[in-house]
């Protein structure tokens, strides 16, 4: 038993509070199962209860988990989970806010939002479910689908180059970038914990298998093509932006902490008069006297 499992055994109730007895509706072998499990493990290990976390979901297969996570969840519009989650965090900075979205939602419908969520460094944990296609709308190409893939809507093969999501994120001045794979629950759990501890936008690229529509990057393919930074590159320094920029351009999928910028000032701290000790905005709605202002008009 890994020490993670031992610790987990000690706080099983904290894990079970999020467990549902509803029938799960993802396909067999879908990466979403392990990703959701790892998230529950991380929450349990970080001792974050249902009164201390709000889950925000985009529309896509990962979003269909929004009523299968027994906690306060909001299932918004396609592509819009990042500004939605940012609005939640700004209103209530005292609770953890987690946002989850697919590759279609994040780099097509919501491409503008991911740029500015990273730039503003809203203090939320963001899981990017990268299954390299549109699962819920039955298998169209996304912006991350390799050129040439035959998908619904491009029978002659996807005509356009795929984007490299992490190459883009690293060009936005992020504060925390990591990569995990749905094939390794323990590692996901560990990185999700780090993301929950991070006081800024934790962008986590989650390599997600989608056996139904993505026959290329299958569970097995990932297992063969992933490597762990901690094991393979012991001298890797995640605060070195150029090292990170080079790493994400490599064929091999290195998992772990890719980039971390402790100096970046998160969104709330950048507000000159904001103070973490002052009440959350949700607790602060009161009649404000404006007579001082009116006197000067």
């Amino acid at each position: 038993m890994s020490d993670q499992s031992k610790k987990l055994a000690g706080c099983a109730d904290r894990y079970l509070q999020y467990e549902t007895d509803e029938v799960m509706t993802w396909c067999g072998g879908c990466g979403n199962y392990t990703i959701q499990n790892a998230l529950k493990r991380a929450l349990a290990l970080e001792n974050i209860g249902r009164d201390n976390v709000i889950f925000c979901f985009d529309v896509g297969c990962s979003g269909n988990g929004s009523d299968k996570m027994e906690g306060y969840t909001i299932h918004g519009l396609h592509g819009r989970v990042l500004p939605l989650a940012a609005g939640v965090k700004i209103a209530n900075h005292k609770v953890h806010v987690i946002a989850e979205a697919g590759d279609g939602a994040t780099f097509s419908e919501g491409a503008g939002h991911v740029i500015h969520a990273v730039r503003n460094d809203y203090p939320i944990l963001f899981l990017h479910h990268d299954n390299q296609n549109y699962g819920l709308t039955i298998g169209q190409a996304s912006a991350l689908t390799p050129k040439g893939c035959k998908m619904s809507g491009c029978p002659q093969g996807n005509p356009v180059d795929a984007l490299n999501p992490l190459e883009i994120v690293l060009s936005l001045g992020p504060s925390f970038v990591a990569r995990v794979s749905c094939t390794d629950t323990e590692h996901m759990t560990e990185i999700f914990q780090k993301g929950l501890q991070h006081d800024g936008l934790a962008f986590i690229e989650v390599l997600q298998s989608c056996p139904t529509f993505n026959k290329d990057t299958t569970h097995e393919w990932y297992v063969e093509n992933i490597k762990y930074i901690e094991k393979e590159l012991p001298k890797y320094d995640p605060t070195d932006l150029w090292a990170a920029k080079r790493l994400v351009m490599e064929e091999t999928m290195y998992l772990g902490m890719i980039y971390h910028n402790p100096e970046k000032q998160n969104f709330l701290k950048a507000v000159e008069h904001w103070d973490p000790k002052c009440p959350a905005l949700v607790e602060d709605v009161h009649q404000v006297d404006v007579s001082g202002i009116m006197a000067k008009l």
Binding site: Y72, T73, L77, I90, I115, D284, S291
Partner: protein, 586 residues
Amino acid sequence: MNTRTRLRIAGQSGTGLLSVGSILIRSLRDMGFYCVADREFPSLIKGGHSCFTINFSDQPLKSLSQTCDILVTIDKPSTQAYFDTLDEGGVWVHGYERPVGLKDFRDTADKRHITTVHMPTRTTAKEVGGTDLQQNVVLTGMAWKVLGLPYDILETEMKRKFAKKPQFMESNLAALKAGYERTEYQIPQTKYQIPKKKERRMLIDGNHAIALGAIHAGVRVYYAYPMSPSSSILTHMADYAKEVGMIVKQGEDEITVANLNMGSWYAGTRSLCATSGGGYDLMTETVSLAGIIETPWVGIIVQRPGPATGLPTWTAQGDLNLAIYSSHGEFARCVIAVSDPEDNFTLIQHALNLAEKFQIPVIVLSDRVTGESLLTVPEFAQNTIPIERHLVTGKNLEKLDNHDRYKITKDGVSKRWIPCSHPDKYYFANGDEHDGMGRLDEDQSAGEMYAKRFRKLETLEKDLPEPEVLGVKKEADISFVGWGSSKNVMQDIIGQQGISGKRQGVRINYLHYSYVYPLKTKSLEKFFKDNPNVHLIEGNHTGQLGQLIEQKTSLKFKGKLLKWNGRPFFVEDLENYIKEQMPKTK
């Protein structure tokens, strides 16, 4: 007795006409006059003709006249653009150095018995130690003298305005005085009484008032993407943020703004956003989300003429249908329309209360003329509209069941509580159709949840105040029905504050809708019964409130006064329309 005096300062954008205007209107306000002032300016940064118009009186004023008694012109192109808005017998004040190109103006002036008041303002400024930067200050002194008003008031205002820039103070005062003293001509005193009692009034526009109302009602975060004519709300909110402990975030586009607003409302605080018609198009999908997850969402549309970019710096009431019918699917919403600073301040507070009470999106319609024209108004009464949050809190949370959040009820409203306020009473705010707790529900019975949400519209309608009748109670010779900014010109016409002053004994009244949707029809039906000659007044081309009335009732308007060229209703518009519509005998 009409004592409206109309002063217009014309100049190209960026030539300082606003600073001349602001000193004059502040001085008039200090003297206790009622003032209303508005800018006309093109959608450019520099160049293009623009003017600042002040109408003042010892009686309350809310709308402007189209023409003016005194025209102060800063540059020749603007003289060209606005000269014919100076009435017969008016006064033309200018300070050009070289008379070149003025020939035909002087001829027209003579023909129309217009008195010209002139001195070379640049030379005058230099004579008294100023620079050509002070030529407008000389012009300000000249105008005040033409109005025949005491110099000390003007001087106090100048000192207050340049208190933070002492380096200009001395030369400014010298130039001001020179302009004032070297001008002989004064308009005849009969024009107006100088108000005796000096009730202190604020000079404020609708955008500023709605910002203060929102702050007063406990809005804790404001989101906006710049778009005229709503941008000044962002500027005000940002200026006060620190002082009132509010967070202000300029979103990177309107969809970001709408979803930040949605997230903050869902999390349980009071949030607000504003935009104009084009920006609101981008928010409509998010408003539909607020509809299905039954979460309050308040947004302001400061209208301008569309379609598309249209006329960014002009005014219109063309987006009522947008507010009522946009956003896919069917769900309950409320549309409220503001008109003067006072109801900007109060109606935003009601909008926030209604949004929380019925857990619905509430859209507040303003427009450029409401948002940006300055009025003298007494300080707003505070603490008259208690904050109603309609949240389950404290011990009551224990009694909740997860399925209470979207429980199917008769009046359509279910219980709402702040996420995380209780660890076990979680629920799913689900954009997909759902059951009482928010779990996906695709069964036939899901239609009941759809109908439950829509029932809130009926409950809301019963809760809203009826439209108010202004003017004569019954049997008016001519009556009008309108909403939003139309109230201002109607109040001036009813208060005999048109130009002609005397309304030739015409009995007028006006039914005003602040709460436009869902449409209340009881007093409307009574208004049509009590008054034989009811007309519609709307600042758009298709008479959108008229269409809503024709759909909900079988009432028919005798006529429709519609305006859609970007200009607000002037008192002349009403006076001419009434003249046309009234039977000749009157």
